[in-house]
Each structure stands twice: as C-alpha cells, then as structure tokens.
C-alpha cells in the first residue's frame, strides 16, 4: 500500500485518496478557438511514462483537497507532494 503525504494532513494511506490523472494536462483556454485535434489531445491523449510522473490526487476521505504528487510509475515511490497551486520540480 502506498502512503501519500498530504500537504495539509501529513502522511496518510492511499485508501483515503482518489487518483485524478496526469497533472501535466492543460485545458485549452476558455472561449479560445480550439481545433478538433487539440480538443482530442486534451480529452484522450495521455503519455504513459516509465519513471517519474506528475499526478493529481484528491484527498477524498481526508481534507478533500486536490494535491500534486510526483510518483515513480515503476517503483511507486513518491518523491514529492505539493498543494495544487504550488510548483513541483
């Protein structure tokens, strides 16, 4: 089982969290002209990196905040977590 350090509540079990997807995906700007390809990329296309991956997690059964998590997709080691508005290196 993974343990994820919530920036608000401290170290918690993965059972309290929900995975929220790739944190690198950026939604196209509101009301901007978007091609079908750009929209398709935003909705469907995801990278599946081997190694470090920046992810969004939601502390569903805790403080109910979205957080950023840098995780290794091979070892599942978690390198860093941050609040949603914070940058992660």
């Amino acid at each position: 089982m993974l343990h994820i350090k919530c920036p608000y509540c401290g170290l918690r079990s993965q059972k309290e969290f929900s995975y929220g997807g790739d944190a690198n995906v950026k939604r196209p700007k509101l009301n901007a002209e978007v091609t079908d390809k750009e929209w398709d990329d935003f909705v469907y296309m995801r990278k599946s990196p081997k190694g470090h991956h920046l992810e969004l997690w939601h502390h569903t059964s805790g403080c109910r905040q979205w957080i950023k998590v840098k995780r290794d997709t091979i070892t599942h080691e978690i390198y860093q977590t941050a609040k949603i508005e914070e940058q992660i290196s």
Binding site: M1, Y8, C9, G10, L11, R12, S13, K15, E16, T60, S61, G62, C63, R64, Q65
Partner: protein, 194 residues
C-alpha cells in the same frame, strides 16, 4: 415529529464479547450520541476575510490542521483548509453564527445528518487501529482526523486521553454499518453498550 436516532435499531444496552475475568471497569464503553448540534463552516475560496478575532463561545477559529478547540460543551474541529465542524451539546443560536457573514462563509446545519459513536476505554485505540489506516501514534488529545474505517468515511475526534475517549462520526446512512464494524472490533476486548 418523532426523532429517531441513527442507531436506534441496533444499539442495544448490554455487555458483549470477551468478558471473562474482567470487571465492568475494564470493559470498553460504546454509546450513541444524539441531540448534538453540528454546524459546518466553510470559508469561500475567493474570500480574503481574516480569521483573527473570529471566535464562537470563546473558541478561536484557526487553520491549524487537525487541531480541535474545545470547552465543556462545544468543540470546533478542523476538517480541511478553511473548513470547520462545530459540535455542541446545546443548540447554537442563529445570533451566534452571525459572525460568519454570508459574503465570506457558508454555514450549514448538519445536525441529525451524522451517526455518532462514542468509544471509551484503554483499548479504544486498538479498536480504531483494526479498521482505520491512520497512524494513531500521531493522534493526541484534542486532535481530530478525517479518515476511513472499513472504507466508511469517518471523522474521529480524540476527546480524552486517560482513559481514551473518542467520538467517531459518519454519515447517518452509514451508521449501522459502522456500528457493526466497531462493535465487531470490540468483541475481543469485551464491551459494554450503554
């Protein structure tokens, strides 16, 4: 209107579980708490209102994670950034809640929406450890956590240390399942339902 408590169908007074060679004072005590006033206070994301000088019943509202501010009748639990749960033995009057102005705060009456189980006794922590993944070595008196107990989302409030006394809250509709989980975990130590 008749008021039915969330656990009225299953909480039966008696002594259960492994009670051999134990006196009543050594048993865990399980009780249901009813008639609590519960209010959820949330500060809006776009609010720049300060929390200093914001207090209710002489208890200061603060953003210290997991810290509970309390006096004899009222406890204020931190449940997330800019979110608190006020739990009180008596009715909190509308006038008292006016300090949370509607431009900056949302106040929601959650009384009767929660099942509340009180557990008291030296093995209380062991009972919680059986179903909750939190490291209870980090939890001290007057702290509270949101976590899960057998996958049911719960709020655990650490009320007293000697002997341990905890208040476990979950959504009313999950109350009976949580009660079964808690009492099953208590059987090993023997418990008194009061």
């Amino acid at each position: 209107m008749t008021l039915l408590s969330p656990l009225s169908d299953i909480h039966e007074i008696g002594i259960y579980g492994n009670i051999e060679n134990k006196t009543e004072s050594n048993l865990l005590e399980i009780s249901e708490e009813t008639l609590k006033s519960i209010y959820q206070i949330t500060k809006f994301k776009n609010s720049d209102s300060s929390l200093t000088n914001l207090s209710i019943r002489d208890l200061q509202i603060s953003n210290n994670p997991m810290i509970v501010k309390s006096n004899l009748k009222t406890r204020i639990l931190w449940t997330g950034p800019n979110q608190w749960l006020i739990i009180s033995d008596d009715k909190i009057l509308e006038d008292e809640l006016k300090i949370f102005d509607s431009n900056n705060f949302a106040v929601t009456d959650l009384s009767h929406t929660r099942a509340i189980i009180n557990i008291k006794g030296e093995n209380s922590l062991e009972v919680l450890k059986k179903g909750c993944p939190y490291n209870f070595n980090n939890l001290k008196k007057n702290m509270s956590i949101n976590s899960v107990y057998h996958s049911i989302a719960v709020t655990i409030d650490f009320i007293e240390e000697n002997p341990y006394a905890m208040r476990i809250m979950c959504l009313r509709s999950f109350g009976e399942s949580l009660y079964h989980s808690i009492t099953d975990a208590c059987l090993e130590y023997g418990y008194k339902a009061i």
